[in-house]
């Protein structure tokens, strides 16, 4: 029965108190460990279509009569459109329609950053649309631009009031501590740069709008588009069956969607609006830069007594202030914690969430600081972490926490450090570092799924969620197969269409598997119950003695064992329809994912080159549904994190505020040649308080600790403290010089 509750809802570390209609999920968890299907490696559903190039992405949608749109963007970091005239542009060959400031959400007369969208034109070809942009007569009024976060803080140009948190008595604990370390860390702006750029195709069919879009959240886009255009939500259908990566940047409809919808309305033709790679680098969102002034204090026995942080989240023209302070508040047992988070608003491209927003940045600072503390205390870094193990989240119990098991699994990798160091040469210094991780990833209600079983013995799971490449489609199929007692090849999953299935949550915040998975299991259980009802009638046995195992209907006394297909064959054109909902999260508990990375690096002390040679990634995310896909997620997170750590940085011209790194040549993402040996291990232990599945999400955790693990390995190898991301050769050489000066030798590097 549906129940109305008042509860806290979490997405990517942001909480809001909401009314929620939830349905109970009365199923008991499966015992821990691999089952028949769940917990065993499964080849990805739709892998073949993707590999053979048959999967139809938004980029491949071709509708009859479809026009192409190009977007006019501000050349100035801050400016206002005083006048705009499309007369000449509309007269050019192939041009059908134009929209300007105020004509569609996202197109505004005030341009808050260089690259801000102000107008768009639709033409027969993209080339014609792009050429027509040059013919738009536009008069700009330039406004003052604020580009530097420290300047913004000094002038009080903040996006919101500073957010303060304190527990215990930080000042007093600091004064009484035996050892204190203070350091400032800086993290850079990085870009998502999904392979498929942000794009949408919009087509009006009567008063209904079909939106084909590369998105992580079809329902969010549906509501946003309906609101933005002032039409009922059920008049908007959003479709995204395959999408070419998002990483947090595609959670909402962008100006490209609204521009396509409005241009399509005006032109009476479908319109595609696809960002170019340059636009993707300039105006599609980013992980914001941070400045973190951190303090840690401890007693000589290694007990951390105080942690303090002043965090600056340097947002651009938009975005929200992610939880950079979260790791400091939650990762260690510490009675006295004081944090303040200051958020600047700059005339730079807007922040969008990027794979564990805030925690990636905050974990770099905190986990480097903890290692600096360990060095000062002369305590083994792993031992220091064990000694300060957090048993609760500021008094709230964790629904499950197996970080100590992660440490146990990490020990053998950590023990390699003596051998690794011994392989150093006079030029290449080698070392090992580690870092821990806490993040969210428990998901939550609502999410729904249906199952459909036909006389052909096949099962269709229907849920309007997305599979953004993380393999959630496969995980859902495994869960349904497990519950129904059939093999995985009998199950297909229909997703990615708001008109063809019930609501499912967004593919962000590591929430898809923990949110939709239990709904799928409940829907499968509902179908199974109905199958057994029919079986009881057919075989004249009581339902309670019947079960489905290995695709057969069996009775508990072993006397009945018939093919499931034999029974389902009786259905004819009848179908068994199951439905399921995601139950509530445990009340009064803090749901988190945990993990630890151990990195091995080599540093060329002459040139400052850093090579990551090996990463052991150990994660605690509850029950693992698909070990094969889970390993791929971890590898992908580690590799993306290595890019964040060593090579990726969005550069701005400090004078004009224009993005300088506008191509995949200038913005350097990891290639296959940059990949170290990666070892993945899991504490595969269901969270017994979380849903009938006990699984948490895994998309984000593996990117959280990697930068600090690498930085700490660099310290182990060279004695140098890096304080800035990316660890460029300049930063590496600076840290080496500083270390040399600290040791009293002249800085010769």
């Amino acid at each position: 029965m549906a129940r109305l509750i008042r509860t806290e809802k979490e997405v990517e570390g942001r909480f809001e108190e909401v009314w929620l209609v939830v349905e109970e999920d009365p199923l008991e968890q499966w015992p821990a460990g691999p089952r028949d299907v769940v917990g065993r490696p499964a080849v990805r559903k739709t892998a073949l279509e993707r590999v053979r190039g048959e999967a139809r992405f938004t980029a491949d949608i071709r509708l009859p009569g479809m026009l192409q749109a190009a977007v006019l963007r501000s050349p100035y970091a801050h400016a206002r459109v005083k006048q705009i005239d499309f007369t000449q542009a509309l007269g050019l060959p192939g041009v059908h329609a134009a929209v300007g400031p105020g004509d569609a959400p996202g197109l505004e007369s005030e341009a808050g950053y260089a690259g801000a969208p102000v107008a768009a034109i639709a033409a027969e070809t993209f080339g014609q649309a792009h050429a027509a942009l040059q013919a738009v007569a536009i008069e700009w009024e330039q406004l003052e631009a604020v580009l530097d976060p420290e300047d913004a803080v000094a002038r009080g140009l903040l996006a919101s009031d500073p957010e303060r948190y304190e527990r215990g008595d930080f000042e007093r604990a600091l004064a009484e501590a035996d050892v204190v370390v203070e350091s400032t860390y800086r993290t850079q702006v990085v870009l998502h740069n999904s392979m498929e750029t942000h794009q949408a195709v919009c087509e009006w069919v009567g008063d209904r709008l079909d939106v084909y879009i590369s998105t992580q959240y079809i329902w969010g886009v549906r509501d946003e588009v309906a609101r933005g255009l002032g039409i009922p939500a059920d008049k908007v259908r959003v479709v995204c069956e395959y999408m070419g990566g998002g990483f947090g940047s595609k959670n909402s409809a962008g100006e490209y969607t609204f521009a396509a919808a409005e241009l399509a309305r005006r032109a009476g033709r479908p319109v595609r609006c696809a960002l170019t790679r340059t636009e993707e680098n300039v105006a599609a969102g980013n992980r914001n830069g941070t400045i973190q002034k951190l303090t840690a204090a401890a007693r000589s026995d290694g007990t951390i007594v105080a942690l303090g942080g002043e965090f600056v989240n340097a947002l651009g023209w938009g975005g929200w202030s992610a939880g950079t302070d979260g790791p400091m508040r939650m990762l260690y047992a510490c009675d006295n914690v004081r944090t303040v988070k200051v958020t600047t608003k700059l005339n730079t491209p807007p922040m969008k969430p990027f794979r564990a927003p805030g925690f990636v940045e905050g974990t770099f600072g905190l986990e480097c600081l903890i290692d600096e503390l360990a060095a000062k205390l002369d305590v083994d870094p792993l031992e220091l972490r064990r000694r300060n193990y957090a048993g609760s989240n500021d008094g709230t119990p964790f629904s499950s926490k197996n970080l100590s098991d992660c440490y146990e699994l990490a020990q053998k990798h950590w023990d390699r450090r003596h051998d690794v160091r011994a392989r150093s040469t006079p030029t290449w210094k080698r070392g090992v570092g580690m870092a821990s991780q806490i993040w969210y990833g428990g998901g939550g209600p609502p999410s729904y799924a249906w199952t459909r079983v036909g006389s052909d013995g096949r099962i269709m799971v229907v849920t309007a969620m997305q599979d953004i490449g993380t393999g959630t489609r496969t995980a859902m199929a495994q869960i349904a197969a497990e519950e129904l007692g059939v093999s995985l090849d009998r199950v297909e999953v229909s997703l990615g269409d708001s008109a063809r299935g019930p609501y499912a949550t967004l593919s962000a915040g590591s929430s898809t598997t923990p949110s939709v998975g239990p709904a799928v299991r409940a829907a499968a259980a509902d179908a199974k119950r109905q199958i057994l009802e029919i079986a009881a009638q057919r075989y004249e046995l009581e339902e309670r003695v019947l079960d489905i195992r290995d695709g057969r209907i069996v009775s508990s006394d072993g006397n009945l064992s018939v093919e499931l297909d034999e029974l389902l064959g009786l259905l004819g054109n009848a179908q068994i329809l199951g439905k399921g909902a995601r139950g509530p999260n445990p009340t009064g508990m803090s749901v988190h994912t945990f993990g630890v990375h151990v990195a091995e690096v080599a540093v060329d002390v002459e040139t400052g080159e850093v090579r990551v040679e090996r990463v052991a990634a150990i994660h605690d995310v509850g029950r693992i549904v698909n070990p094969l896909g889970a390993g791929s997620q971890v590898e992908g997170g580690v590799i993306q994190g290595i890019g964040h750590t060593l090579s990726e940085v969005r550069l701005l011209d400090p004078e004009t505020g224009r993005v300088l790194t506008q191509s995949l040549d200038a913005y350097r993402m990891p290639t296959i040649a940059d990949v170290p040996e990666i070892v993945c291990e899991f504490v595969d232990e269901p969270d017994r308080h979380l849903t009938s599945l006990g699984s948490k999400g895994l998309g984000e955790p593996p990117i959280v600790p990697i930068a600090a693990a690498i930085a700490n390995a660099i310290r182990d190898a060279t004695g140098a403290d890096v304080h800035e991301l990316p660890i460029s050769r300049e930063e590496m050489l600076r840290a080496l010089r500083e270390a040399k000066e600290r040791r009293g030798a002249p800085a010769a590097v």
Partner: protein, 146 residues
């Protein structure tokens, strides 16, 4: 409009296209071969990789009229053993770069059926995968004949 003659996946194609049209554009927009992806459209990422006479070529920065030789796209390699190897190894996440990876890998193994990890890394470094499937891509290429 100038005539364009191409042999694509063994079939001769005759069409008209303005000088300056990229091979990727012709394949995707004129011939409906959307397996070839455009991710950067400036020759930096490898998603648009096709083969011309067996050699990997970035079709987004190749002028269609300048192509001399037989073009092979992912549509012409759908039954290549590498496809099954990529599926087996889970060398695909979002899948947008994957056809380009397979086309590049097919050229590699045609020239060198048993490439070493170093040779794989050297040959495949021009194909970016933002999801980071690289370890699985390496595994798929190492085991493509299994």
């Amino acid at each position: 409009m100038p005539e364009l003659r191409l042999t694509v996946n063994g079939r001769e194609q005759r069409l008209e296209a303005p000088i300056g049209t990229s091979l990727a554009h012709v394949l995707r927009e004129r011939l409906g071969l959307t397996g070839t992806k455009i991710a950067c459209n400036e020759g930096h990422c490898g998603a648009c990789t096709v083969q011309v006479d067996g050699v990997p070529v970035l079709s987004c920065i190749t002028l269609a009229h300048a192509v001399r030789g037989d073009v092979t796209t992912i549509e012409g390699l759908r039954d290549h053993p590498l496809v099954a190897a990529f599926v087996r190894a889970d060398a695909v996440q979002c899948g947008f770069c994957t056809p380009g990876q397979v086309v590049a890998a097919a050229a590699l193994v045609a020239a060198n059926p048993e490439p070493t990890p170093e040779e794989i890394r050297h040959s495949m470094a021009g194909n970016i995968c933002r999801c980071g499937t690289y370890p699985k891509i390496e595994e798929a290429i190492r085991t493509w004949r299994d």
